[in-house]
């Protein structure tokens, strides 16, 4: 049997005295599409930040593809095939759209240590970035400054930067936040087209769109896993109705 893409074992995180993650255990298999839902403050992003290594858990273990990464730095986890997007857009606004993707590509390549070769000389990196931008429909904006493109395009660029790294596990933190219904449809297509060798975990509030993309759903509430399982079973669960979907 293959190791899960992500395994979380009895994870606990306290901020001061306030518990943010309480005994969370999850197993997500390679290729799975997992949706994480829960009311505001349920600890969804805090969970992501522990998976990426931005936060150290108080106790518990995190395994990526069978390897214990609990004590690894964020950059070391990126080299194991972990990639993420941010709920609050985190791009390089002074630089061009293409440069943002190039930075993403270079992060996993030895070129990032080269102090003598100008970045402009890496034709293959720039070509790859162009290709990626075409894929997400931003090809025409490659040379535009990120600060000047529209919000929806920035959301797409967030995903493009992560996808350019060909991650084995991709964490999407509210990729649809603040988008119009048209833009949401575009992003939905983009996520649906992600190849199956990438496992996708997504936090999202837009149930209409997100449920179509998900196979399994985890409901978090006050830092605990309340319901966990196949999509339809979780939706049908009365507890989901009570704490999340409303009446």
């Amino acid at each position: 049997m293959t190791a899960p893409a992500l395994e979380i074992v009895h994870l606990v995180k306290h901020f001061g005295g306030i518990p943010a993650t309480q005994d969370v255990s999850l197993k997500i298999m390679p290729g799975e599409r997992r949706l994480i839902i829960g009311p505001n403050g349920a600890g969804k992003t805090t969970l992501f930040n522990q998976i990426t290594g931005d936060f150290r858990p108080t106790s518990g273990k995190i395994l990526l593809f069978g390897q214990d990464v609990t004590r690894l730095t964020p950059h070391a986890r990126a080299h194991l095939g972990l990639s993420r997007t941010y709920q609050i857009i985190t791009l390089f606004p002074q630089d061009s759209v293409a440069h943002n993707v190039v930075l993403g590509l270079m992060g996993l390549k030895g070129a990032r240590w080269n102090m003598f070769r100008p970045l402009g000389f890496y034709a293959e990196l720039h070509a790859e970035a162009r290709h990626m931008l075409d894929r997400v429909g931003l090809g025409a904006l490659a040379e535009a400054r990120v600060g000047e493109i529209a919000y929806g395009q920035k959301r797409r660029l967030e995903i493009a930067m992560a996808l350019a790294q060909k991650p084995r596990l991709l964490l999407l933190d509210e990729p649809l936040a603040g988008l119009s219904s048209e833009e949401r449809a575009t992003i939905k297509q983009l996520i649906a087209a992600i190849p199956r060798d990438t496992t996708v975990i997504m936090i999202e509030h837009d149930m209409d769109t997100a449920l179509d993309l998900a196979e399994t759903v985890t409901l978090l509430h006050y830092g605990r896993v309340l319901v966990d399982g196949p999509r339809d079973a979780v939706i049908a669960d009365p507890k989901t109705r009570e704490v999340y979907l409303g009446h």
């Binding site: 990426t52 290594g53 931005d54 730095t73 964020p74 950059h75 990126a78 080299h79 990639s83 993420r84 941010y86 985190t90 791009l91 390089f92 606004p93 002074q94 440069h99 190039v102 930075l103 993403g104 270079m106 992060g107 996993l108 070129a111 990032r112 240590w113 080269n114 102090m115 003598f116 070769r117 100008p118 970045l119 402009g120 890496y122 930067m161 790294q165």
Partner: protein, 311 residues
């Protein structure tokens, strides 16, 4: 247009000793030395986003180390220079380990504290540093048998080192590594998530900046043939920082222009105005109010506005 301007500058700089008097040649040498110092500090301030108030450590240490090795160990200039640059770079490696435990204000305070330690040692450890009397060099080096005692000869030597320093630092910031460095300045968290070792990138840059700070220190001690604890003081660090900020941090031309302005005000204007410090204050007030981003980016902005603005 840009190439013509660069070429013209290069010609003027290279031929300066042919038409300028000794006073101006020496002034130009001092500007070039200050410019290398400011450029190296700019790697931290402008490109890494790490504001240091202790960069004089590297200039002062390198100057002291070479003067000490020449006078006390009796080493020739070349081995003394090699020893000085090596130890300065090693010291930068150690300082980086300590200072990079923090960023922002914490980083600034640690770099300041470390340089104050060196300044105190230079004053108090008189058996090593000759204390307040400073160390005197017997003369200037003569690489390949060319004496550098004359103002023109030393200027050309300084110009050659400056050209090399400027080119190498320009390559550094436009390289793949330099792009990663700018990324860690703008979005350190994102850079870590993309697979970059943010700490290591900063540390390497810190050491590299220390190395060039040391090179500036060597030129400094050869120029003055003398080194005093003042060179390690907060004033020296702050002047470098002022030069970077006034000229425009995060640009290549900015620190050169800023350092030039500072040296001119200090050495030239002070001959005519007794309270030249007040003039310095007014100049900086003007810069902060009119072109807060610094002279080079500020003038560029003003020019482009004029070019594309209303008739």
């Amino acid at each position: 247009m840009r190439t013509v301007l660069l070429l013209l500058t290069a010609v003027v700089l290279a031929s300066l000793p042919l038409f300028a008097g000794t006073f101006y040649i020496n002034l130009a040498s001092q500007i070039l030395i200050a410019a290398i110092f400011a450029l190296s500090l700019n790697l931290l301030v402008g490109y890494a986003g790490l504001t240091s108030l202790g960069h004089a450590s590297f200039l002062g240490f390198a100057a002291y180390a070479s003067a000490w090795a020449s006078t006390n160990l009796g080493l020739g200039f070349a081995p003394a220079a090699l020893l000085s640059i090596t130890t300065t770079t090693l010291m930068a490696a150690c300082f980086g380990l300590i200072a990079l435990r923090a960023t922002g204000l914490g980083f600034l305070m640690i770099t300041l504290a470390l340089s104050q330690v060196l300044w105190g040692l230079a004053y108090r450890w008189a058996s090593l540093t000759n204390g307040d009397n400073g160390l005197t060099l017997a003369g200037r080096p003569a690489p390949f048998g060319i004496a550098l005692d004359g103002a023109g000869a030393y200027y050309w030597f300084t110009l050659a080192v400056f050209a090399a320093a400027f080119t190498l630092m320009a390559v550094f910031v436009s390289s793949a590594f330099g792009s990663a460095l700018k990324g860690t300045r703008d979005q350190p968290r994102r850079m870590a998530a993309l697979g970059y070792n943010v700490w290591l990138i900063r540390w390497i840059t810190f050491v590299y900046a220390g190395f060039w700070g040391g090179v500036a220190g060597l030129l400094y001690v050869y120029y003055h043939r003398y080194i005093h604890p003042t060179s390690l003081s907060i004033t020296t660090s702050a002047e470098g920082l002022l030069g970077v900020i006034a000229g425009g941090s995060g640009t290549l031309g900015g620190p050169v222009i800023g350092a030039g302005l500072l040296v001119l005000l200090k050495n030239y204007a002070s001959a005519y105005i007794e309270r030249w410090n007040m003039l310095l204050g007014f100049v900086f007030l003007f810069i902060v109010l009119v072109i807060p981003e610094g002279i080079v980016p500020g003038v560029r902005r003003l020019l482009s506005r004029k070019g594309s603005g209303k008739p």
